[in-house]
Symmetry: C2
Subunit: 208 residues, 2 copies
């Protein structure tokens, strides 16, 4: 089983690494980080660089496709969108984290489907033809989308359970000691102080 995680300039690091850490232990699997060109790809803060081992043309039949997000996902990059359409034709699962769902939607893969994304981008996702929800992980057939950044951990674990069974997923959860104790309860717009939510909405107005 091949898991392909797409990288592009200014991706968000945890969007990619959360699913990686939870899906990579799948039995008889290999994970490949893939980008338009093989080589180093730098994240949205400019401080973290991950290596794409393969270029798009070298990865043509992954079983699982994972698309991370970022503050300005390349929804206009036809090479990436073409690749997504191509690999989706034979994938078993096509997934995203955060604004990665905008890429799937821009590729036409989420038309009319319930999906999720980073909370700041729900309307944008709707604009691309998906049906945005506020849920943390949304499955619709083989399409599994996760909300912002850290939601990729929950998505990866849930998908690992569906593929390899509950016991496998529980092993992974125990190995990464995923028994969260957030020191604050501000992880969703419905829970965070209203002033913070408004400030962020102002700061991150609709992207291009």
């Amino acid at each position: 089983m091949q898991i392909a995680i797409l990288l592009f300039d200014r991706f968000t690091a945890l969007d990619a690494v959360g699913p990686y850490q939870t899906l990579n232990p799948l039995p008889d699997s290999e994970t490949v980080f893939v980008a338009e060109q093989a080589g180093p790809v730098t994240d949205d803060s400019g401080s973290l660089t991950l290596t794409a081992r393969k270029s798009l043309s070298e990865v043509d039949r992954p079983d699982i496709v994972v698309v991370p997000g970022g503050p300005d996902v390349p929804v206009g990059n036809e090479a990436l969108l073409d690749w997504l359409r191509r690999v989706d034709a034979t994938s078993t699962w096509t997934t995203s984290v955060c604004t990665g769902s905008l890429m799937l939607a821009a590729a036409g893969l989420l038309d009319g489907r319930p999906a999720t994304t980073h909370w700041l981008y729900r309307d944008v996702l709707g604009g691309y033809g998906a049906k945005p929800t506020g849920r943390r992980v949304v499955s619709d057939g083989k399409y599994v989308t996760a909300a912002g950044v850290s939601a990729g951990i929950d998505m990866g674990l849930a998908l690992a359970g569906r593929i390899a069974g509950d016991e496998h997923a529980q092993c992974v959860q125990l190995m990464i000691e995923y028994d969260p104790e957030p020191p604050y309860d501000a992880g969703a717009p419905e829970k965070a102080p209203a002033a913070l939510v408004e400030m962020m909405r102002g700061q991150f107005a609709a992207p291009a």
Copy 2:
């Protein structure tokens, strides 16, 4: 403020990226990934490669030191231990995730201090002179240690709050939409099925 995240061969990816994603937004800060030699460093699965931008000798006064773990942390690598002792002399915070605390302890920095680590390695941590606890995040003066892998997210958020205030940390939590919904409740040895815990204890007997 400089945040230095140490990399070494076979580190665990999320150990490094959890604190990165939560500490990197600190105001007026820069994060640098550092390793014995600058360049690519590959994780414990062999599939993920992060770039260390600087070598140890180029990073001599970080304000925050973060040491990730891995299944076989290089507790015998004197160059790394010397660097840890050297930067600890002037750091404001010296932190670890997972078995990263074994590195701090091997460097002599946790003697007699309460600390935590991956649940499979609590006894090993005690053998290096720290006082292991089962808590998820342990603070003792400027030393902050986190339990296994995913606990680095909680550690990073808690530390961000102590450094830059609750509102900043809540902003970060909201931005990464950290409102966890693990699909299973098996993230700690006290919660996971006993058979899984025993199986893992057998599989990961005391490391070298």
